[in-house]
Symmetry: C2
């Protein structure tokens, strides 16, 4: 069976059994998600940061303190069911394990955060090419000069991802992504990186650069790296995320977030 | 100047100066909101309850612990700017003051929660009559047999408000309210109160009954009483809400929540 045709539960079981791979293209039609796990004492600030900055921080679900499963991963275990994790102590990455059971504590709260895979699939279905997918890399992402609304100890800049879109398809790209308001939604900016404080599109802060061809317009979407970067800047004693591109495959269908 | 034409800041100043009145119809075009204030130790559970139950609990803003103003009430003071409050100790109402300065503590967190006034105005503009407004009462509200997703110590039933709509206008009512997803949005149910566990529409749990005339269909929307009722059932040491119908008039325009 192709990885695209696997169910989310089948994919999670493979990762639990030790398979390590980026998850792009797996379990087509199902929502993939970022992971942010912090101790309970930081959890209110994280949830409030997300409430105040919903475009970059679309919370799909929150597990109770100590809980390792939930409706988005029925029968699953958040400690083993992603292919790879990133573990941070005092804001510095200390490990990238394929299983976080040894780090687990009863006071850890898991945040499941929407990512752009869902709207990228919708853009592709509409015939809009995504440059970084065509070249097999991560989207270029940039710290902007726009500050998020802080919450308690958590603050940071809005991080955006950029996709070059043919001028004739920009309106379609806006319209299509606006139908997924809880998965980053419509772009935050179209066309002028300078207004976002981005000096050079060729040097992204995260991911890889992509070529912007003649007749293409750079379009910027709020990015799920925003909350991760802000949380890490607050230097929590322990925090765990997914490793880049190694996402949680949830049981939620992309279509359930279409409005 | 008519109360309808007042700005939100002018209205809040009048209430701060001692005027006591229900706020329906005041400052037309601006969002009115419910209030839930709890100590910081309960705040994560309240915010998580709202995240898990967004239809009945549309959070418009959260003030930092101890903070008494914010962008939704620029220059205002949450302790004085509503015409009347309800104060609860251990889940029991103990007072209904017009000013809560004497109860204020530095650990209190204010939640500003959307209400149905915005979509009711949009329904009326579309020529749909609202029975309880025509008869000058509060909407009839019912505890349903649907349980909300609990969060920590907070749990309770979904509470719905009911508006009888002419059968020919039900689709319009659904369509119009669906454009306000962060202010309760589309109905949760159309037509059959029994399926919600409502035995008798003539005996609402909150508000007043309205007549359902021949050819009208009872339509049910998620109601902002839901979080208030659930929070009070958890018997927080102190909680403060708005008095029924005596809302916070915010600086946000109704149109800013239209999608």
């Amino acid at each position: 069976m192709s990885t695209e045709a696997l169910s989310p539960a089948e994919a999670r079981l493979l990762f639990r059994s030790g398979l390590v791979t980026p998850t792009a293209g797996w379990a087509a039609g199902y929502v993939q998600a970022d992971l942010i796990i912090v101790p309970k004492e930081q959890a209110f600030d994280v949830l409030l940061f997300a409430q105040r900055n919903p475009k970059p921080c679309p919370i799909l679900g929150v597990l109770n303190p100590g809980e390792t499963s939930g409706p988005l991963l029925a029968g699953g275990d958040i400690r083993t069911d992603l292919p790879r994790y990133a573990v941070y102590v005092d804001g510095e990455q200390v490990a990238d394990p394929t299983d976080i059971t040894q780090y687990w504590r009863d006071d850890l709260v898991t945040f499941i955060v929407g990512c752009s895979f869902t709207f990228e699939a919708a853009l592709q279905e509409a015939g809009i090419h995504i440059a970084h997918i065509d070249q097999g890399t991560n989207a270029p992402m940039y710290r902007t000069s726009i500050r998020c609304q802080p919450a308690g100890r958590i603050s940071g800049p809005l991080v955006v991802s950029m996709r070059p879109i043919p001028a004739a398809q920009v309106a379609d790209a806006v319209r299509i992504t606006s139908h997924y308001p809880s998965l980053h939604g419509a772009p935050v900016h179209v066309g002028n990186p300078g207004e976002l404080g981005i000096a050079d599109l060729g040097h992204p802060d995260f991911g890889e650069p992509v070529e912007i061809r003649e007749g293409y317009v750079p379009v910027f979407w709020a990015c799920g790296v925003t909350p991760q970067a802000a949380v890490m800047e607050s230097k929590p004693s322990l925090a765990i995320g997914h490793a880049s591109g190694h996402m949680l495959i949830t049981d939620a269908r992309d279509s359930s977030y279409l409005v």
